[in-house]
Symmetry: C2
Subunit: 343 residues, 2 copies
């Protein structure tokens, strides 16, 4: 039996996660879901972010479905470092998977790109780089202050995420992997990434490869997003590039993500890329599509490829039927998606 942990979180989190659960229940009856109260609300109430006991309990699940955490009154870094990044690191979620598609029915911002033409997935490293938390400062609040942030990269960490990217590319039609880094400036980490990439590429002669500097990739994601299939990159570059990919495919309102431990030794976590959107919370107007697409990634990761495909197809039907700009009701979208998915 499949056991998932649900962290609905703050703001619109509970609303959109409710629809994602509805759709999961429709395509895979019998999943057990346990709710965990984490996020800004709990932090304000109790001062706790992620107690060790909760971390232990989460570890006992097959996957985690997360809505959104945060609100503007929590100091920067508290929930990010204490909850989201803590989970990514504790559960060794080294593959941060972020697909981006320009769905028929969704008006993208780019004049020259037609629906269907963008279909890429960014495989972002999730446990190393500048996210390692290796930094510090001296002489704080004096003119002599110095602050450092260190990017830590290991062959182990880099190679495994590159392997995942090639495996995914091998299952896709175009079979192309683009490595994005900044080898001309970050020469040490860049060289490690480039050498690991070459080594893995040599084992996959059927996969086309290319390399781009991160600044060029940021530009090409705007001018030629069609050129990308699988993009593999480091933690911070992936953070930035996936928001550009979301922007050119209609905004983070539709973007799904998975923080994956591919071996399944720890639970993977799935969440919409959007935040808690306090401005529209509680009104039942948040678009649950990103949460539902995240549920599809969850199902796929747990081996239910068919159920995942049905959810993805349901989203395609939903989006194709939308009138751009028309208001939507969260519950109604969820009902329609569940209907399409079993239909």
């Amino acid at each position: 039996m499949t056991r998932i942990a649900v962290v609905a979180g703050d703001g619109i989190g509970p609303e959109v996660v409710g629809q994602a659960r509805k759709v999961i229940d429709a395509v895979l009856p019998g999943v057990t879901a346990t709710e965990y109260d984490l996020g800004a609300a709990r932090y304000h109430r109790t001062g706790e972010v992620l107690p060790d006991s909760v971390l232990d309990e989460l570890a006992g699940h097959d996957a985690i479905l997360l809505g959104a955490v945060g609100d503007p009154t929590v100091p920067p870094g508290v929930l990010e470092r204490g909850l989201l990044l803590k989970l990514r690191f504790a559960f060794d979620q080294y593959v941060n998977l972020r697909p981006a598609r320009l769905w028929p029915g969704v008006p993208g911002p780019l004049a020259a790109v037609k629906p269907g033409e963008i279909d890429l997935v960014v495989v972002r490293e999730g446990t190393e780089g500048l996210y390692a938390g290796a930094g510090g400062s001296l002489h704080r609040d004096t003119p002599a202050e110095v602050a450092t942030e260190e990017s830590l990269n290991t062959r182990h960490g880099v190679e495994r995420v590159i392997r995942d990217a090639f495996a995914r590319a091998g299952r896709r039609e175009r079979r192309k992997v683009t490595l994005v880094h900044k080898t001309n400036v970050l020469t040490h980490a860049g060289s490690l990434w480039a050498r690991a990439f070459e080594a893995v590429a040599a084992e996959h002669p059927d996969v086309t490869t290319e390399y781009q500097h991160v600044d060029a990739a940021a530009m090409f994601l705007v001018t030629q997003p069609q050129r990308y299939d699988v993009v593999v990159t480091d933690n911070l570059f992936g953070d930035i590039l996936t928001d550009i990919a979301a922007a050119v495919t209609g905004g983070i309102g539709l973007a799904a993500s998975g923080c994956i431990n591919p071996e399944g030794r720890y639970p993977s976590m799935f969440e919409p890329v959007h935040g808690s959107a306090p401005d529209i919370a509680g009104r039942g107007v948040a678009d649950p599509v990103a949460a539902v697409l995240s549920a599809a990634l969850l199902l796929d990761q747990l081996g239910h490829a068919d159920a995942a495909a049905r959810v993805t197809a349901a989203v395609a039907s939903e989006l194709a039927g939308r009138t751009p700009g028309a208001p939507l009701r969260t519950e109604e979208v969820g009902d329609r998606l569940a209907g399409y998915a079993v239909g």
Copy 2:
């Protein structure tokens, strides 16, 4: 008398720099220009990148005009670290200035943005951060390899570039400065940037301020570029964001940049953002507009605001008269620009 050093460089560098010089001569007769042979060609011929004697000679000029350096056969990092970054650091060019405008006549990629609506300038820090060259590796080429890159940030370095951004904003119509960083993950450097920003902002009550995480800014540069006036950010974020800004305003073919030492203790350097474009080099078809706009930044920096304004107006006339997609001749564009500028 104004003395500039010219590094035409490789590929299309000499072609576009030729037009920039033509335009400078037209608006400010009597500038002395000394050519320096640096770049991929010299590196291949002599193994030299930037001899100390040349660095000393460059230091004796009022400014440097650079075309483009590099070709695909030079190993990554050699010219970047050895020439471009060496100059930025040696000449303490801490303001990396990158304006982005959607000019009337230029078809931008964004369906919803009209010419004239984008008019922003990124003030990118140029001498710190991940560009400091502080990194290394251990156990190279073994499974135990680890590679680091360190971002170094000082109150000194951060505050001075923020001051420059506020000064520029004070001279612009909208008077708005957006700080871009990643304070929720890079908490040490982020906190330094945020505190320095607040301190400088307090001295400028007439300037509106906002803060955005780099991933959000990357997205908003695509979905709402109109919202930005002056953006101030760190070295690497600035590298990425300026390429997005270039992309949404018609591509790096039009993007100018200045690496500026505002106090004038060392020469500032001005260069188009585009590269040496070996594929079209020598054919006389490269667009010199980015080089000419860089020359305008040079003139402005040297106190010739009028001449700079005339060059910028000339570019506006040139672009407004273009038919999108029509072929152009480098020389002819240069002649037209010189004509408009004195006209």
